[in-house]
C-alpha cells in the first residue's frame, strides 16, 4: 500500500482535465478493435491452412468489431458530422491520426473479406482482402495503447511501456476466444487465446509493480474491482480453453465456448478497468503532483551528488 503522500493543491481541484471520452464508447472500442485485429489474423491463416469454420468466425468478428469500433468513435466525437476530418492529414505525432489510418484500411479489407464470405462471390478477392486485414490486424491490437499512453493522464502515461503488451494480450485472449466458438479444428485459436491470457496477466502484474504512485489507481476503487474481475475471468477462461483441448469432442467444445465467453468478458473488463484507472488518476491532483515532486527531488539529489 502506498501511503497517502503529503501534497498541496488548489482547493483539491484537478490539475489536468479529464478526458471527455465517453463510456462505453471508448473502452468498448479498445476491446472490440483488439478482438477484431486478432480475429482478422486468425481468419487469414485459417483460410490459407484450410480451416473454413475458423475463417468464417474470424472474418465476421473482424468486420463486426471494426464496424462497432468506427460507430463508437464517430459517436464519441463532439462534432460527429466532421468524422472525415480524421483523414485530413497523416500525423505520426498523433496516435489518433495513425490509428485512423490503421482502422480505415483494416475496416475496408475486413468488410470485403466478410462480404465475400457472406455472398460466396469473388473468393479470390476475398482471400486477398482477408490476408491484407490479417497483416494490419496486429497493429489494430496495440496502437490503442499508445493512444491512451500519449496523454498527461498519469495512470496511462506512466504505463506506456507495459500497456502495448497488456493490450496485445487482451486482444489475443478476446480474438482467440471468438475463434473458440467455431466448430471444427480450433487448435490455433485455443493457443492464441491461452498465450494472450498469459501475456495479459503478466503485463498487468508488471505494470502494477513498476508504475509507482499510479498503482493505487489500478488496484483500488472501481478500476481495481474491474481489473480483479478481469483477472478472475481471464484465468478461468484460459483454464477452460486448456480443458477444452484436453477433453475434445462435445464436452471439449462446450468448454471451448465457455472459455470464449469468459476470455471476452475478461478482455472487456480489462479495457474498462484501464480506462477507469486513467479517469481516476486525472481527477485527483495527487497523481499529478506527487510523482512530479518525486522526480524533481530525484533530480536535485542527483545534481547534489555531482557537485
Amino acid at each position: 500500500m502506498v501511503p497517502d503522500a503529503e501534497f498541496t493543491s488548489y482547493y483539491g481541484r484537478p490539475i489536468i482535465k479529464s478526458p471527455t471520452w465517453k463510456v462505453p464508447d471508448v473502452p468498448l472500442y479498445l476491446y472490440l478493435g483488439g478482438a477484431a485485429g486478432t480475429s482478422a489474423s486468425l481468419a487469414a491463416l485459417a483460410d490459407l491452412t484450410g480451416r473454413p469454420a475458423l475463417r468464417i468466425v474470424g472474418r465476421y468478428t473482424a468486420l463486426g468489431g471494426a464496424l462497432v469500433s468506427v460507430g463508437a468513435l464517430v459517436h464519441d466525437l463532439g462534432r460527429p458530422t466532421r468524422f472525415l476530418n480524421m483523414l485530413r492529414v497523416i500525423k505520426p505525432t498523433s496516435p489518433l491520426s495513425v490509428g485512423s489510418w490503421i482502422l480505415s484500411p483494416f475496416g475496408t479489407l475486413a468488410g470485403i473479406a466478410a462480404a465475400s464470405e457472406l455472398t460466396g462471390l469473388l473468393p479470390g478477392i476475398g482471400r486477398l482482402a482477408g490476408v491484407g486485414a490479417g497483416l494490419v490486424g496486429p497493429a489494430m491490437t496495440t496502437y490503442t495503447a499508445v493512444l491512451l499512453a500519449n496523454t498527461a493522464v498519469p495512470a496511462w502515461h506512466e504505463g506506456y511501456q507495459e500497456l502495448p503488451f497488456l493490450f496485445a494480450g487482451s486482444a489475443m485472449a478476446a480474438g482467440g476466444g471468438f475463434g473458440l466458438l467455431a466448430t471444427g479444428d480450433v487448435t490455433p485459436a485455443r493457443r492464441v487465446a491461452v498465450a494472450g491470457a498469459a501475456l495479459e496477466l503478466t503485463a498487468t502484474a508488471v505494470l502494477e509493480r513498476r508504475i509507482g504512485f499510479a498503482r493505487k489507481a489500478y488496484t483500488t476503487g472501481r478500476p481495481g474491482m474491474l481489473l480483479k474481475v478481469a483477472r478472475a475471468a481471464t484465468v478461468a477462461g484460459a483454464a477452460a480453453a486448456v480443458a477444452g483441448g484436453v477433453l475434445g469432442g462435445r464436452r471439449g467444445r462446450l468448454a471451448g465456448i465457455a472459455a470464449g465467453v469468459l476470455l471476452n468478458a475478461g478482455s472487456a473488463a480489462t479495457r474498462f478497468g484501464v480506462f477507469d484507472a486513467g479517469m481516476v488518476s486525472a481527477k485527483d491532483p495527487a497523481y499529478t503532483v506527487v510523482p512530479q515532486r518525486e522526480r524533481m527531488a530525484a533530480r536535485e539529489a542527483a545534481a547534489e551528488r555531482e557537485v
Partner: protein, 308 residues
C-alpha cells in the same frame, strides 16, 4: 537533433515551416506579485472573444454559481474561460517589519498572534508551450502553430475528438458544452487574441490589466524583464519569488506564457514539473511495434504443427 518533440527550441514557428522573416515569438509574462485579483483580464477576454458564460462548474454552462471555496468563482480554465484568476488565502508566519523607535514602551516579547494572512492572486492562461502536446496529438490538423509562435485551434477544422484535452499537462484546453451555434462540441482555449496580434494590438487581457501584472511582448524581451523583476524582488526581501515556465530546458521547452509566483506552483493549481507527453512517443511506438510483432508471431506460431 532538431528537438522538434522535446528540448530547447529557439524558434517553434520556423520549426513548423514558417519562412524567414516571420514575426517574432510573442508571449505573456504574468507577474503575480502585482496582481490585485480584479479579474479585468477575465472580463476583457470574455468580451473580446465573445465567449459564452460558464459557471464555476463547467459542465453546467448556464449556471452562474459559487464555488464556496474562495473569492474565485471561475474555478479553472476551460473552453469558455481563457483567463482564470486564482485566489489563495494562506495563514503564514507573521513578518516583522523594521520599526522606528518612537520612545514608547515596547510590547512584551512572545505575545500576540505569530501568524498573519496573505492573499495570493494569479491570472492563469494557456502556456503556448514550445512543445505543445495538444498540437502534437491533434489528428485533424485543427491545432496549429501560428506565425507568432503561439498555438491556435482552427474551429472550422476541429471535429471534437477531444484528444488535446487529456494531452495538455496544464489542463488548459477543454471541450465546449452547449449548443452548436456557440461552438458546442469543439475544443477551445486562449488564442492570444490572434485577431488582435495581426492588427498590431496587444491581447485583450494584457490591455485591460490595470497593474501590468499581465505583460505582453516578444518572448526574449519578456524573459529579460522577468529576470530583472525577480532580482528586484529578491533584493527587497521576497525570497519566495520564483519564475515558472520561463526555462527553455524544462519539460515543455519553455512556455510562451510564463509566470512569477510567490509559492509552489501546485498551490496555484499548476503542475510542478510538467513534461510534454510526446517526449516519450518514439519509445511508445517502439513498444507498440514490438507488441504487435508479438501478436503476429504468436498467431503464426499457433498454426504450426499438424491437426487432429
Amino acid at each position: 537533433m532538431s528537438n522538434s518533440l522535446y528540448g530547447p527550441l529557439a524558434d517553434p514557428s520556423a520549426d513548423a515551416g514558417y519562412p524567414d522573416g516571420h514575426p517574432p515569438r510573442v508571449g505573456f509574462f504574468t507577474d503575480t506579485s502585482v496582481c490585485i485579483g480584479c479579474k479585468a483580464c477575465e472580463v476583457a477576454c470574455k468580451e473580446w472573444n465573445a465567449l459564452p458564460a460558464d459557471g464555476a462548474h463547467h459542465d453546467q454552462p448556464d449556471l452562474l454559481d459559487l464555488t464556496g471555496m474562495s473569492y474565485d468563482n471561475t474555478g479553472a480554465l476551460g473552453a469558455s474561460t481563457y483567463r482564470h484568476v486564482a485566489f489563495i488565502e494562506q495563514t503564514v508566519p507573521r513578518r516583522e517589519s523594521p520599526t522606528v523607535d518612537l520612545g514608547m514602551p515596547a510590547p512584551p516579547e512572545g505575545r500576540g498572534d505569530p501568524t498573519e494572512v496573505r492573499w495570493l492572486m494569479s491570472s492563469d492562461v494557456c502556456k503556448h508551450c514550445t512543445h505543445a502536446a495538444c498540437l502534437d496529438v491533434c489528428p485533424t490538423g485543427a491545432l496549429i502553430r501560428t506565425e507568432h509562435g503561439t498555438v491556435l485551434v482552427q474551429d472550422d477544422i476541429c471535429n471534437g475528438c477531444g484528444y488535446c484535452i487529456p494531452a495538455c499537462p496544464y489542463g488548459v484546453i477543454d471541450q465546449r458544452k452547449g449548443p452548436k451555434e456557440l461552438g458546442g462540441g469543439g475544443a477551445f482555449k486562449c488564442t492570444m487574441c490572434q485577431d488582435r496580434l495581426g492588427a498590431g494590438l496587444q491581447p485583450a487581457c494584457a490591455t485591460a490589466c490595470p497593474t501590468e501584472s499581465i505583460q505582453f511582448g516578444p518572448l526574449d524581451e519578456l524573459r529579460e524583464r522577468a529576470d530583472a523583476r525577480l532580482a528586484t524582488l529578491h533584493e527587497h526581501g521576497v525570497p519566495e519569488a520564483r519564475l515558472y515556465g520561463h526555462d527553455p530546458d524544462d519539460g515543455v521547452g519553455g512556455d510562451g506564457a510564463f509566470f512569477l509566483l510567490l509559492d509552489e506552483p501546485e498551490v496555484y493549481g499548476l503542475p510542478p514539473d510538467p513534461v510534454v507527453t510526446t517526449r516519450d512517443l518514439p519509445s511508445m511506438w517502439r513498444h507498440a511495434a514490438v507488441a504487435a510483432l508479438t501478436v503476429a508471431a504468436t498467431v503464426a506460431a499457433s498454426f504450426v504443427g499438424g491437426r487432429r
